[in-house]
Structure formats: structure tokens, C-alpha cells
């Protein structure tokens, strides 16, 4: 008697379709160079060393008097905030009538290994704010910091509260001891002095390793299975490639800045205890007394909400709002949820104070 085959024909069909998609992939996929990540028209209005201050062209008449400067993270590039016309953080804010600037930290080289917190806070960020104040003839601006860019923005706001009208902290890295992520575990066990003394800047390859241990099977396997399954979906492929290109482009972090970062934030946790110094200035979070809006994501596996939320309670502001969203670190800034919920809520809050 012959053994009856019990393989579901659907399985064979799926395997064949998947194999065909893998073979056909090169026809549907653009080369990384063909993908333009700078979607919304802008111009470079100031360049200092490798940093650039970008000014985005308004899409409607500006409705709010106070301009907004975004201090992006030090990891990867600012493109994620303008990754796709339909998911662009910047474009959404322009459509709400805000005047938007972005600080691109650029790509440091070996020569920049001595750049430190002081250069970023009292140098690049302060110069950008000074430029915007001059151009807009305003005394104060609104400042938004994202991820590690929010740590720099927090230090700035505490040291120069007279220049900041409203402060928005999006997934800020603040309380290193409370951070429950894998990144913080690696950071706590790292000899940052030895790394910087030996190789200068924090190399991008080290960051890629850190990314690879975050949800390694979902991100390393399932993500690519989904990609090949949806290879004929133009919109999906375009979105996927944009994010992949962004993920594969992280600049080195200047050595001195990285050293202070790891030691003061993750290992000794000085910022939240009001014990951190930038140059010879003590950062006292109580000096942040302007309206403040904090955004955190429950599923953030890069900066856990426990690491970000203490900022809301530590500042001196009386007008402060904390928003918690059911998404992840990138989902909070570049997803349909960010377009439908995160940005409208932030825009409403900011419009009332601008």
C-alpha cells in the first residue's frame, strides 16, 4: 500500500512563490544610491565644522510665531524624521504651520575625536539657536530633542533656559540606571576610556553590533521573510528600503563625547541626579522651567520608558505633559501612528504655546 502524502499543497505553493520572489527581487529593488532620503525641500542655512543647520521650506503659510529646532540623535542620521512623504515628521509639522529647522550633526572623522558635550551643547546647538533667533527676530525658540539628541537638548535647556520657549523631549536618554534595554547593559560594562584612548571615535561597526542584539530573530530573520513575501508590493518595498538605508548609515560618535556619555549617563547616572557637568557648568534639571512635553513609547527597546520618564518629574516646569504611546522607538516618529496621533497631539500642545 502506498503511503499517502500529507503535505498541504498550500505549503508547496508558498515555498515556490517565496523562491520566485527571492529570484525576482533584483527586478523590484532599487540600489541604495537611487533612494533619496531627504524628501522635504530644505536649504542649508548654516554650516559649522561638519554640522549643518537645515531650514525646511514652508508648505503652507507659517501660523506660529515661534520657530522649532529639532536636535536629532547621534546614532544614525536625521533622515528618519523625513523618511517618506507619508510618514515625514518634518512635513507633518510644516503642514501644521510650524517653521522647522533641523540640526544635522554630520559625520565626524578621526580629527573630531576631541569633540565633547561642551562642543555639542554650548557650541553647535547654541550657535544654531543663535542663528534662528537672529533670522526670526525672536528671543526664544521651541526645541525638540529626539533620543540622544534629547539628552544634548536637555543639557542645553538647563544651561540656557532663557533661549527656550517650549521644550519637547522625545524618547530622551536621561536615567541610565533605570534603563532596562540591552544597550544600557552593554554600556554599563564597557571600558569607554580604553575604547576611546585606543581607537578614537566610537566606530559605527560597534553600533551595528548593538543593533544586531536587539530582537535578533524578529529583526534578523522575520523582517527579511516579510520583505521577500511582499516583494511585488511597491509601497512596502519602498518603505522597507528607505528604513534599511537609514539603518545602515550611522556615523561614528566623537570619542570624548562618547566617553562622557557612557560614564555620566549609563555608568554613574549623573544627569538625573543633577551632578553632571558640561565644561565647568553644572546641569541642574530644575532650571528647566518652561512648558515641557515628554513623549515616550511603551515598546521602546532602545531607550526604555523608565529611562526617559524621570525627566518629566525632575524638571522645574509647572506646565508639563507626559504622553505614553503604544509603539516603539522608531514607530513613535515614523509611522502611521505618529502621523495620526503623536504629531497632532504634539502640534496642538505646541500651537497653544507658540
Amino acid at each position: 500500500m502506498l503511503n499517502e502524502s500529507r503535505i498541504d499543497p498550500k505549503i508547496i505553493e508558498e515555498v515556490l512563490k517565496f523562491s520566485k520572489n527571492v529570484i525576482d527581487a533584483p527586478k523590484f529593488v532599487s540600489a541604495p544610491d537611487e533612494i533619496n532620503l531627504e524628501v522635504t525641500p530644505h536649504k542649508v542655512v548654516q554650516e559649522i565644522d561638519k554640522t549643518r543647520l537645515l531650514y525646511y521650506k514652508p508648505v503652507i503659510e507659517t501660523k506660529h510665531k515661534t520657530p522649532l529646532l529639532i536636535s536629532y540623535a547621534l546614532i544614525n542620521r536625521f533622515h528618519i524624521l523625513d523618511i517618506h512623504p507619508e510618514k515625514s515628521w518634518v512635513r507633518n509639522l510644516l503642514e501644521q504651520g510650524f517653521e522647522v529647522y533641523m540640526l544635522d550633526w554630520g559625520t565626524p572623522t578621526s580629527m573630531d575625536k576631541y569633540l565633547d558635550f561642551d562642543d555639542y551643547v554650548n557650541g553647535y546647538l547654541d550657535s544654531s539657536i543663535e542663528f534662528i533667533k537672529n533670522k526670526s527676530s525672536t528671543e526664544k525658540i521651541s526645541l525638540q530633542g529626539y533620543c540622544t539628541g534629547a539628552t544634548i537638548a536637555t543639557a542645553y535647556t538647563a544651561l540656557h533656559p532663557e533661549n527656550v520657549k517650549n521644550y519637547i523631549a522625545t524618547a530622551p536618554v536621561i536615567d541610565g540606571w533605570k534603563d532596562t534595554t540591552v544597550i544600557s547593559n552593554l554600556a554599563k560594562h564597557m571600558d569607554a576610556d580604553k575604547m576611546v584612548d585606543t581607537i578614537g571615535n566610537m566606530p559605527p561597526e560597534f553600533m551595528y553590533y548593538c543593533f544586531s542584539v536587539l530582537k535578533p530573530f524578529e529583526q534578523g530573520i522575520e523582517k527579511y521573510i516579510k520583505f521577500f513575501k511582499n516583494i511585488d508590493d511597491k509601497k512596502f518595498v519602498d518603505n522597507f528600503l528607505r528604513v534599511e538605508k537609514w539603518l545602515g548609515d550611522t556615523p561614528p560618535i566623537p570619542g570624548e563625547l562618547f566617553k562622557q556619555w557612557i560614564k555620566d549617563i549609563y555608568q554613574e547616572n549623573l544627569l538625573i541626579q543633577n551632578k553632571m557637568y558640561v565644561a565647568d557648568q553644572l546641569i541642574d534639571l530644575k532650571k528647566i522651567d518652561m512648558p515641557m512635553f515628554t513623549q515616550v513609547a511603551v515598546g521602546d527597546h532602545l531607550v526604555s520608558p523608565e529611562c526617559s520618564m524621570p525627566l518629566h518629574y525632575a524638571v522645574g516646569s509647572t506646565d508639563k505633559t507626559l504622553k505614553i504611546y503604544p509603539t516603539g522607538h522608531v514607530g513613535m516618529i515614523a509611522s502611521s501612528l505618529s502621523q495620526k496621533k503623536v504629531l497632532p497631539e504634539m502640534g496642538k500642545w505646541l500651537a497653544e504655546r507658540s
Partner: protein
């Protein structure tokens, strides 16, 4: 007269290299010592990964059906596999034992790099090129000067703005 041939060789690369070649030998001995430590941490690193893999696979075997019968079951097994593996590996990467070992592994790798830098410095000096330390000194000086200039420029701009009011 007898010192002249020696003086002649002092400008070529070999004299400087010969004078410092002992340093290279010392560095190579230390590299070997470092490699022992590096291998130890590397072995522990892979041991932690393979142990976690084994435990996670056992959990998957208990939860998933022996042979998936249709496309839906394959999808369900894949989901179980990814969830269990992600959870177990995240738990490992988040643990103190992993953090300690990984920190030591990176540290040993950096020590190896440092020895390699030292050897390269000997070679660079033998051909009258600046060492890494000397280049770093230049970078530091440039950084310090740029910082001073930037601060002065910024102060000037602020002052101009104040006076313009």
C-alpha cells in the same frame, strides 16, 4: 674618522628601526598573552550563545506540534520559534554575566589593537613619520583652537545682536 660610517647610517631607516626593534619583540610577546585572554572570553561568548540556543530550542519543541501539517501551522511554529528565541536571547544579552564577559572581550580586543598601534608606531618612527600620539596631539591642539575661535565668534554675534536692539 671611525664614527663617520655610523653617522652615515643614522639617517637611514634601519638604525631607528634596529634601536626600537626590541619594542616590537615585547609587543609581540604581550600580544600572545592577550590572545590567551581574548580566546577565553570568546569561548565563553559562544558558550553563552549556544547554551541559550539549546534551551530556547527545547522550549520550542515542547510548544510546537511535531510536524506542522499545513501552511497555518508552519506560520504558528515560526511565530513560536521567533518569540521564544527573541525572549531568551534578550534575557541573555540583558544579563550581568553576558555584559561582564562581553565587556572583557571588547577590552581584550582593544588591548590587541593597542599593541598593534605600538608596533606600527615603531615602524612609523623609523621612517620619520609622526606616531599616533603625535597626530593626536595635533588634533587636540586644532580642537582647542577651533573651540576658542567658535566661542569668540558666537560671543561676537550675541554682542552685535544686543547692540542692534
Amino acid at each position: 674618522m671611525s664614527s663617520k660610517p655610523q653617522a652615515l647610517t643614522s639617517i637611514g631607516p634601519m638604525r631607528a628601526f634596529a634601536a626600537n626593534s626590541k619594542k616590537i619583540a615585547v609587543e609581540l610577546i604581550e600580544i600572545n598573552e592577550n590572545l590567551v585572554g581574548f580566546n577565553q572570553y570568546m569561548t565563553e561568548y559562544y558558550k553563552q550563545l549556544s547554551n541559550t540556543w539549546g534551551i530556547a530550542q527545547k522550549k520550542v519543541n515542547l510548544k510546537a506540534p511535531k510536524i506542522p501539517q499545513d501552511a497555518e501551522q508552519i506560520e504558528a511554529v515560526k511565530r513560536i520559534w521567533i518569540d521564544i528565541f527573541d525572549n531568551d536571547f534578550t534575557e541573555l544579552f540583558d544579563s550581568k554575566k553576558f555584559g561582564n564577559n562581553y565587556g572583557n572581550l571588547v577590552s581584550k580586543e582593544l588591548e590587541l589593537t593597542k599593541h598593534w598601534n605600538n608596533i606600527t608606531n615603531v615602524i612609523l618612527q623609523s621612517v620619520n613619520l609622526p606616531s599616533k600620539e603625535e597626530i593626536d596631539e595635533v588634533y587636540k591642539e586644532i580642537h582647542s583652537l577651533k573651540k576658542r575661535v567658535s566661542k569668540l565668534e558666537l560671543e561676537l554675534k550675541k554682542e552685535k545682536r544686543k547692540n542692534a536692539k
